[in-house]
């Protein structure tokens, strides 16, 4: 946590961010970037010299949850992370100001192909390498969309074989960014789950069957209670993952991220189920969150990550 937070609490900043997130929602990426930058969100963790607010990651986590709850379909978290990671470089200021757009290809390229959840016609792309990461120019690269999971915002395979490199991160910097990214994306999916729980609770309290609301049925109540349980557990794990351990070392963010993703998938699938027929319409917006969470799961290679976490623990046991 930054010492320079002027007494501001993360929850207060998230509250303040809500209108900007709502306004940015559904807008073209460039417009959304400007709106969010004006509200200070893209640069929330960027240095003040780069036009940022220089706040700690706990603030970004609160914003991430807000963005997930608000179903913001714009890579705000990538902007926050890149504007912080490239501190002091021109690109950081431009991203914080909403003038440039960057996205992160978490898994790195394989055979020259990089998977992105949504490229938003961005300017720069961060490509993790064996050690560290390269920042490359997006312009001129060939993109292959795979639209079936999310027709409105298709996943993209970017051919980065001939990309122009315009910056880089060291291994240590990339490790920091990855940890932060896991925590923030964990926050995003947890916000999405919180929203799904709220929508479901409201819907089931209003929907009447046999003279009583559906929320009077124990099976429904228990499903919603389990959503709440998982929600609070995700939040607890994510908040903890950002705090330093007793020796002052950064904690492993992967278990919290993986838990949050698993919990959010369960919650969204169950929320859709509990909405009955309405749940699988395009009109009830639950499906957007389900697509987002599944894309995030894929983007980080959650399956592989879970194995690594286990392997590391087994080795150290």
């Amino acid at each position: 946590m930054s010492s320079d937070d002027h007494g501001l609490l993360p929850a207060e900043l998230a509250e303040a961010a809500r209108p900007a997130i709502a306004e940015a929602r559904g807008k073209p990426a460039r417009d959304a970037a400007r709106i969010l930058a004006e509200a200070g969100l893209t640069g929330v963790c960027a240095q003040e010299d780069d036009g940022g607010m220089a706040l700690g990651l706990s603030f970004a986590l609160a914003i991430a949850e807000e963005a997930g709850a608000g179903q913001l379909r714009f890579p705000l978290l990538d902007q926050i992370l890149l504007a912080q990671a490239f501190a002091g470089q021109d690109i950081a200021g431009r991203i914080a100001a909403g003038e440039a757009l960057g996205v992160i290809g978490w898994e790195g390229a394989r055979d020259g192909l990089l998977r992105l959840s949504d490229d938003c016609d961005c300017d720069v792309v961060l490509v993790p390498t064996g050690q560290g990461a390269d920042l490359i120019e997006r312009a001129g690269l060939t993109a292959t969309p795979t639209p079936l999971l999310d027709p409105d915002a298709p996943q993209i395979w970017l051919d980065v074989g001939a990309a122009r490199k315009i910056g880089s991160l060291s291994g240590e910097q990339m490790a920091d960014l990855r940890r932060a990214g896991e925590a923030l994306y964990g926050g995003f999916v947890t916000g999405a789950a919180a929203n799904a729980l709220a929508l479901s609770s409201d819907y089931l309290a209003a929907r009447v069957q046999f003279g009583r609301p559906l929320s009077s049925k124990q099976a429904v109540r228990h499903h919603l209670a389990r959503m709440k349980l998982l929600l609070e557990m995700s939040r607890a794990a994510l908040a903890r993952s950002l705090a330093r351990d007793e020796l002052g070392n950064p904690r492993d963010t992967r278990p919290a991220f993986l838990g949050a993703v698993g919990n959010a998938i369960w919650t969204l699938e169950k929320a859709i189920h509990l909405h009955g027929g309405m749940g699988f319409t395009w009109e009830v917006p639950l499906h957007y969150s389900l697509r987002d969470i599944r894309k995030i799961e894929t983007a980080f290679g959650a399956g592989r990550l879970a194995r690594q976490v286990a392997q590391d623990f087994i080795r150290a046991a």
Binding site: L148, V208, H273, F280
Partner: protein, 402 residues
């Protein structure tokens, strides 16, 4: 009756093994590659292609097996119905475009319709000349039909209908709506229910499509504003019609879509073949967690197969099917939905450099995952099925026993 099935006589003379061979070889010879979801030639079939394909299946003796010959059916038994379903399940063909007619309207008309209605409607359901949609659900009435608000009031020797239906699949392409209304007030609850066969061309009907989670527009809301139908559109008497329909539906629930466990196995095989077609993906199948899940799925498929076959045996023995349909629907929907999640995980590894078949399989199972969200909802949610099992099968008391 305009079309005579081509094999009627010979079908009825076939032994089960012959019929099975006929079904298998006919499908192998006739299902076009572009209708096979596991073919790289696949493309989404147009409505007329689906209709034409299903009409051909019918003429080949692979639909309407148990319907009486006098109504265009093949006059076979549930045994042949099961055999055909197994073979249908063994290929990745599209879902039926005429299922509402064949699974719902047809059996209900058979149970409660007049002879004229049977003659008029039943053969055209099998030939796909008439498409039907279902008008039971309403925005505010799911399994609680006491809340049904669509009303039919007598009018000039016929009926005037007002109300609104939802989840009416295929409404925009349907010729008729199997419409459930009430004639009394909402306080009559389950009394005064009346069913109609309403031509969708009747003035006053408005169809508003609903886009679903998989991006398709297969559902609709249907509004009925002062829709006037003659008394001949009525299916059965008030009360009587609906009660009979309920009985019919409980049998249908156990005999419809018997192909499911065999299709489930075919889907699993298609997934594996897609992954095996690319060496970089094939290694995913060496993984212990993946193998555990596949082993589990195979056990579930075997159980569903055994359960369906057991149901057929019982029905052939003249037993009441009771609530067995709840067991198979529930088990299939949950297992299949979980399988769709596994498939999505696996196809997430497919890249544009992967084999063409792998990419086909990715596309198929991505959509399948989204559509599978509906499987625990339609035709009675998981919770409704569990309530039925507790109430009607286990007969668990809700109150203190004397």
């Amino acid at each position: 009756m305009t079309v005579q099935p081509v094999f009627t006589k010979s079908l009825q003379a076939m032994a089960p093994a012959e019929y099975r061979l006929h079904a298998r070889s006919w499908l192998a010879a006739n299902l076009p590659a572009h209708m096979r979801a596991d073919s790289t030639d696949w493309r989404a079939p147009a409505l007329e292609e689906s209709v034409s394909w299903e009409a051909r299946m019918y003429r080949a003796g692979l639909a309407g097996m148990t319907w009486p010959v006098e109504y265009g059916g093949h006059g076979l038994t549930l045994r042949e119905h099961l055999i055909a379903n197994k073979e249908i399940g063994a290929v990745m063909m599209p879902e039926s475009a005429g299922s509402v007619g064949k699974e719902l309207a047809g059996p209900i008309i058979m149970a409660v319709g007049t002879e004229d209605q049977k003659q008029a409607f039943l053969p055209r359901i099998l030939t796909l000349e008439d498409m039907w949609c279902q008008g039971f659900s309403e925005p505010d009435a799911g399994s609680d039909l006491a809340r049904l608000r669509t009303r039919a009031v007598p009018h000039d020797g016929g009926w005037r209908i007002n109300g609104q239906k939802i989840w009416t699949s295929g409404a925009s392409k349907a010729d008729y709506c199997l419409l459930l209304t009430r004639t009394g007030t909402i306080e009559d609850r389950h009394k005064g229910m009346l069913m109609f066969a309403v031509p969708m061309s009747t003035p006053g009907i408005r169809v508003v499509p609903i886009k679903s989670i998989d991006g398709k527009v297969s559902f609709a809301e249907v509004f009925f504003d002062d829709v006037i139908v003659p008394d001949e559109a009525r299916l059965g008497a008030p009360d009587e019609g609906w009660d009979a329909a309920i009985r019919v539906l409980s049998i249908e629930r156990a005999t419809n879509r018997m192909y499911r466990p065999w299709r489930f196995e075919t889907e699993l095989r298609a997934l594996l073949r897609g992954l095996k077609s690319d060496p970089e993906l094939a290694v995913l199948l060496d993984d212990g967690a993946v193998r555990d899940r596949i082993g589990q799925v195979l056990g579930q498929i075997d159980a569903l197969k055994g359960f369906v076959e057991g149901s057929v045996e019982q029905l052939l023995d003249g037993a009441q099917i009771g609530a067995r349909g709840s067991l198979s629907k529930l088990y299939w929907s949950e297992c299949h939905q979980a399988f769709a999640g596994l498939a999505l995980d696996l196809v997430g590894h497919v890249t544009p450099r992967s084999s063409g078949l792998a990419q086909r399989i990715r596309d198929h199972f991505t959509t399948a995952y989204l559509f599978a969200r509906a499987e625990t909802i339609y035709a009675g949610t998981t919770e409704v099925q569990l309530d039925i099992i507790a109430q009607r099968i286990l007969k668990l008391p809700k109150d203190l026993q004397k």
